[in-house]
Symmetry: C2
Subunit: 384 residues, 2 copies
């Protein structure tokens, strides 16, 4: 079974771990999310941290997207250099980087665009207020339950302090939340429930901010792939910012927010060792190629990826995800795949060292970040 996938991948001539992107699947994922945003009348501002790649950015532009999200100043600068002019930096403002952020904001404004920045404290608000001529939209980050960053949605005094810190000359653009708590919800209905809670909490916080003088037209921006994938129509918000959905991964599949056929990024890994006695395959594909992100299986086994199968002509498309072929250990360059006792022989029949297996990653954002380039299914390089 693994041998036939290796044969399908052979034309790519791979000698080392390589991210393979299924462009038609990724484009379909983009198109579906864009259509849902249009139907719901919300701005679709995808998070580009997943791919961090100008060429893949173009696939979004092809669907009419012109507003994007990034999570670092360097990413904002990279995409600004590739023609994007409406960029939200959805990572808390670092005052030490203010000169570079201001330069970027001015550059985008001069090109008819705008930079968005994110704050969650009165201290950051005062820093911005003290800054003359800073042409950026200011988003107030709200913690709607994830517990990472943001002013608590139910902390009216903290919210008011941020508004007062900004002062009367710097009205915020809106409230921004990352509902990352949906990742811990391993059932679609629970994800949707957390999303609805978050929307209600944003409304609650908006009322408090407006009461504190932030103006009546505050926008609401929300982002996370599980809820954006599962909610059938967005209500009560103005903007969505999912990122991971473009490739999806085993975590999304586990959550139930995508089908196996929506996974669009895998890592092709050469087989370097076969160990029938312990029913293991060792692959060139370690922590520096997959990341050490893992999922804990019900039986207590930690899984770092699952092998997959291809289908003729399109190794990634319509291939199955093999639950029975997990990557159970990763060191720097090695991965160990442990097969079930009754599966080893049939799955590895004909398999030789130098053959290539497909590994579906747990978290595609972290996996893709580890690679300088991707490969298209036709073997063409996609530079980052």
């Amino acid at each position: 079974m693994l041998k036939s996938t290796s044969n399908l991948l052979r034309p790519l001539g791979l000698t080392r771990p390589t991210v393979v992107i299924d462009e038609p699947r990724a484009r379909a994922n983009i198109r579906r999310m864009a259509a849902k945003a249009r139907t719901s009348n919300v701005v679709f501002r995808p998070h580009f941290k997943t791919h961090q790649c100008a060429e893949i950015g173009q696939w979004f532009a092809d669907e009419g997207i012109s507003e994007i999200t990034v999570s670092s100043l360097e990413m904002a600068q990279y995409f600004a250099g590739h023609g994007w002019t409406d960029i939200t930096l959805a990572f808390l403002l670092n005052p030490v980087a203010l000169p570079q952020i201001r330069d970027l904001a001015r550059d985008l404004e001069a090109r008819g665009g705008r930079l968005g920045v994110t704050i969650d404290s009165a201290a950051a608000a005062r820093t911005l207020a003290a800054c003359d001529s800073f042409p950026a939209r200011v988003w107030i980050k709200i913690d709607t339950g994830y517990g990472r960053t943001g002013v608590g949605w139910n902390e009216p005094e903290e919210l008011a302090a941020v508004v007062h810190g900004l002062g009367p000359h710097h009205l915020p653009a809106g409230l921004l939340t990352h509902t990352g708590n949906t990742y811990a919800a391993r059932a679609p209905q629970r994800v949707i429930g957390l999303h609805e809670d978050a929307v209600a909490r944003l409304h609650h916080a908006r009322a408090d901010l407006t009461a504190a003088g932030a103006g009546p037209d505050l926008l609401l921006s929300l982002g996370d792939t599980p809820s954006c994938s599962l909610v059938s129509r967005f209500r009560g918000i103005d903007e969505i910012r999912p990122g991971n959905f473009v490739f999806n991964d085993l975590m999304q599949w586990e959550i139930g927010s995508c089908e196996s056929s929506d996974l669009a990024a895998a890592v092709a890994c050469p087989v370097v060792g076969l160990y029938p006695q312990r029913r293991q395959i060792v692959i060139h594909g370690g922590a520096v190629h997959l990341s050490k992100e893992s999922l804990l299986r019900d039986d207590g086994v930690r899984v770092f990826g699952l092998l997959g199968t291809g289908s003729p002509g399109k190794p990634l498309a319509t291939g199955a995800i093999l639950r029975q072929a997990p990557v159970t250990s990763l060191s720097q360059e090695h991965g160990i795949v442990t097969l079930a006792a009754d599966n080893y022989e049939s799955m590895t029949a004909g398999l030789e060292i130098g053959d290539v297996v497909l590994v579906w990653p747990i978290h595609s954002c972290l996996t893709c970040d580890l690679h300088q380039e991707f490969l298209n299914l036709d073997g063409r390089r996609i530079e980052r």
Copy 2:
């Protein structure tokens, strides 16, 4: 307490997560291991996967080291391009990459050096034997208990099959093992015991290989930082290949194979949020800067790094490791530091967003691999 370290780091002007290397400590780590190898009369062939950096390679050359280990063809090519000519590729041979490996082997030979390659199967041996004019030393990888790759030390038939696969014209150079099982031993005496077992098992396997016709002069090469750091004098082996020891990290400290003052690579991370109510600091320093490597604390908390303190003039040197300030959660760009209830106020006194904290990584090899450059304590960039 954290504020004073931030003040020490201020001259570096950091606005994003940056690996800071304490060169004097790293050079001392190299010097100590080199001296022990000399005293023990073994070849010191350090593993360069930890730093993957030509300039840091020079610190080894300064101690008289001319033989090195790498874990990928790309790493071998990189260091060959920086003047190294005696390189062991301690990663199982991928037959598909044989043309490139042969080119490299010929290049090194032409420069008076040599490439070492590693195999652990009769199939790989036959592939090499079929290859005319391949000027490489062949190492047979032995599994002495780690269970990742290698022919089992107590599998005489498998060992003989590798020798017969190589044929009479390709005598192996020796036996090579990675005693990675020492990482799971969290006590020095246990590490030393595993090392002694491994040496004895190498001798056992060598006898079987010699009996199978591999020649009488097989060398024994062993590598892993815990045992190479803890064994006071090497006996019964010909070569050591540790890598991690140059920087060490929290895992080595946990094992007991280094002192806190031997840690030479930390990540300086900007503070982006302060949350007294939940006693947490949020830093710009996530999975893409630290790696998701973790240690499980006795109380069940998973730790992704520990904050540290600096000392005047030398922020890294002699600074303490703060067990009470663990990084307890990582997402792509964010890290969450959770402080104990009675520590938050004193530790964060004066701390502001934009300040910089030092994070000691769990596994320095994986952390360093994520960065394109390091910073010296004097603020000088070390390119990779």
